[in-house]
């Protein structure tokens, strides 16, 4: 791991500027302390590195290609590259993180894995690694998401995971996360909670960002120059964290985070946590989140289950506040258009989440010399039902 630590990464107490920390009930303190005391040492150990790197290479298929998209480049009059996380085993960037966390869980002697999932990609990636390592796996998923991401539910079940429906709130990612945390409280010793994004109490945001940082490490190795832009969608922000990580201190590289605007940022039907959010606490972290004036967390909305979350990782809240990252957003409609555009120009069907990143391209005032990397966080198989409905409309 790199010895130089960017000022944009978490400090020792898990703070990113004013954001982050570990705002958890005493009931979870022991688990968090255990993780905090051990995770870095485990990750830095030779045995972990050997297994992690080997699995990323032979099992996931890394490094993922950095693909120069001629036709998008022609269309937007710039030099556009796609970081192909969609080609990873299980179909998204999520697996980079789950391999790492499940290996850590094993080192800590945990026998039972729990996870939350929105689009189902993190659930599938977790279930996959649990199948590989022979561990019990329970995935919490909002009932709404179970309905709209059916193929991933079937995959998790085939992989041997138990999928439990979260029935509170809008029955989406936030609610699934609540249930996973409750499960963790009720299983204080044998269970490891594999969080799917750079959210949650310290050290999760730091740990997940580090496990995803392989994305930007490879981008740097794959390019002969620094890009002008790195663009990624943000739900909780893990694929963006991974894509930005090794560019954080290259201040000349513009980091663009794209939120899901749903029906529009000004409407109530949105998941644009930064555009609409205020400072507060969600799932153990001080960050920006969508809430009403009484501090009740508001129900988000996005066509994309993976971005349908009312908060944002503390890293991104700070990058935005420090003006290190540019935060944009894309509506459902813009994301759908971008998905169809990529499919028709390049023969790549992107995940709806990743389509939000692509939808930022027309909004960036690009010059022909500009080099842009878009992190294509996942593939669109899971979203076929939505795409079919769009084609038939």
């Amino acid at each position: 791991m790199d010895k130089h630590r960017s000022k944009y990464l978490a400090n020792e107490d898990g703070y990113y500027g004013d954001f982050g920390g570990a705002f958890i009930p005493e009931l979870l303190q022991h688990n968090i302390d255990e993780l905090k005391a051990n995770w870095e040492q485990i990750i830095e150990s030779d045995s972990f590195q050997k297994e992690y790197v080997k699995l990323l290479k032979d099992y996931v298929g890394r490094p993922s290609p950095l693909y120069f998209s001629q036709r998008l480049s022609d269309k937007y009059n710039a030099q556009i590259y796609l970081k192909r996380e969609d080609l990873n085993h299980t179909g998204s960037h999520k697996v980079n993180n789950t391999i790492g966390q499940v290996l850590i869980a094993k080192q800590l002697g945990k026998s039972r894995i729990i996870a939350e999932t929105g689009a189902g990609q993190h659930g599938v990636a977790t279930a996959t690694i649990c199948a590989l390592m022979g561990l019990e796996c329970v995935v919490y998923m909002g009932a709404t998401d179970i309905a709209r991401q059916a193929p991933n539910v079937a995959r998790m079940k085939m992989l041997g995971a138990e999928v439990r429906a979260a029935e509170s709130g809008n029955k989406t990612l936030k609610d699934a996360t609540n249930e996973a945390i409750r499960d963790w409280i009720n299983h204080p010793t044998d269970t490891f909670y594999v969080i799917g994004s750079v959210v949650g109490p310290h050290p999760y945001p730091d740990m997940v960002a580090q496990l995803q940082s392989v994305i930007s490490k490879e981008i740097k190795e794959q390019m002969s120059q620094l890009p002008n832009y790195v663009v990624a969608c943000v739900g909780g922000g893990s694929n963006a964290a991974g894509a930005f990580y090794h560019f954080l201190d290259n201040e000349e590289v513009e980091l663009v985070a794209v939120e899901a605007a749903g029906m529009g940022v000004e409407t109530a039907e949105t998941a644009a946590s930064i555009a609409q959010g205020n400072v507060g606490f969600i799932h153990g972290s001080k960050t920006l989140l969508m809430q009403d004036e009484d501090g009740q967390i508001t129900e988000p909305y996005s066509i994309s289950a993976g971005l349908d979350y009312p908060g944002i990782g503390p890293l991104h809240a700070n990058l935005y506040t420090q003006k290190r990252a540019t935060v944009m957003n894309a509506t459902d409609e813009e994301a759908l258009q971008a998905a169809f555009e990529l499919t028709q120009l390049e023969g790549i069907i992107p995940a709806l989440e990743s389509a939000h990143a692509l939808a930022a391209l027309p909004k960036l005032a690009l010059k022909p010399t500009d080099v842009v990397v878009v992190n294509l966080s996942g593939r669109g198989d899971k979203d076929m039902e939505t795409y079919i409905a769009k084609m038939n409309s």
Binding site: G21, A22, F23, I24, P25, E26, L27, Q29, H30, S168, G169, K174, N178, I181, R182, I185, N186, P188, N278, V279, G280, F281, I282, H283, G284, Q291, E293, D294, G295, Q296, I297
Partner: protein, 260 residues
């Protein structure tokens, strides 16, 4: 004026019965009535829950009750409104218990000032870690005469408990088991061992056991080890199904206070 929590535990060292219920439940304007009825029925302390959209440490009963209360229209602002004249009718210690986000959004300083104004004695914010409290909020709490009651669990190291005991917290909330509220009831042998360990520490701060205390058997068992016990989910169940509130409250407290 002395804090009512301190006064109570100075005078009453055992069988302190604390009841929790969420504000604005079962009907929006029941908050003060329940409080009054609880004192009349013989509860020693009351914790009023500040309903939150995402109550992570709570099981189904309190989660559903919080949802209902929010649908009824409760908010922190309205709660302070409801409690404005509380001290005309109620003399037992009253605490507010809730999650950090609504309190933070309200403004922690304003919250403390308003607590003092209506006569609240203490606050329990399970997701505000003690470190953050000491660093950022302790002074404001003290200025407004408020106790910040900490939680400990079977996993909390002794050093941390002893550190808490050196401070002025009113009482220490001993979480009976590693579980969300209402998830378990009854007291196992393992839990008794844990309670005995706490008792053996001979803390100067009073302790109360909560989570999973549901009836007179578990209340009396808990009181063998601590100054008292806290009942939440079981009380919520007793008042949620309609009927005369005053009667439900009275029956419940009598049911718990049966001498063994």
């Amino acid at each position: 004026m002395d804090n009512r929590i301190d006064v109570l535990f100075r005078e009453k060292k055992e069988n302190v019965l604390t009841i929790y219920f969420p504000a604005g439940f079962p009907e929006l304007n029941d908050t003060l009535s329940i409080l009054v009825e609880l004192e009349k029925a013989g509860a020693d302390v009351v914790e009023i829950g500040i309903p939150f959209s995402d109550p992570l440490a709570d099981g189904e009963t309190i989660e559903m009750a919080s949802q209902k209360a929010l649908q009824n229209g409760i908010s922190l602002k309205l709660l302070f409104e409801q409690l404005k004249e509380m001290r005309k009718y109620v003399s037992i210690p009253v605490l507010l218990m809730g999650y950090l986000n609504p309190v933070y959004r309200y403004g922690i300083e304003q919250f403390c000032v308003d607590c003092k104004a209506v006569g609240i004695d203490g606050v329990i914010l399970p997701d505000l870690p003690m470190r953050e409290y000491r660093k950022n909020y302790q002074t404001i709490f003290h200025k407004n005469g408020l106790k910040n009651v900490p939680l400990i669990t079977p996993q909390t190291p002794v050093e941390r408990i002893e550190e808490l005991d050196k401070e002025e917290h009113g009482f220490i909330y001993v979480v009976a088991s590693s579980a969300t509220t209402g998830a378990k009831s009854g007291i196992s042998k393992e839990q008794e061992d844990y309670f005995a360990r706490i008792k053996a520490l001979q803390l100067k701060t009073p302790t109360q056991i909560g989570f999973g205390i549901a009836d007179s058997a578990s209340f009396n068992k808990a009181c063998e080890f601590t100054s008292g016990a806290i009942i939440g989910s079981a009380f919520v169940k007793a008042i949620q199904n309609g009927g005369e509130l005053a009667v439900n409250v009275k029956n419940f407290v009598e049911f718990v206070k049966v001498i063994k």
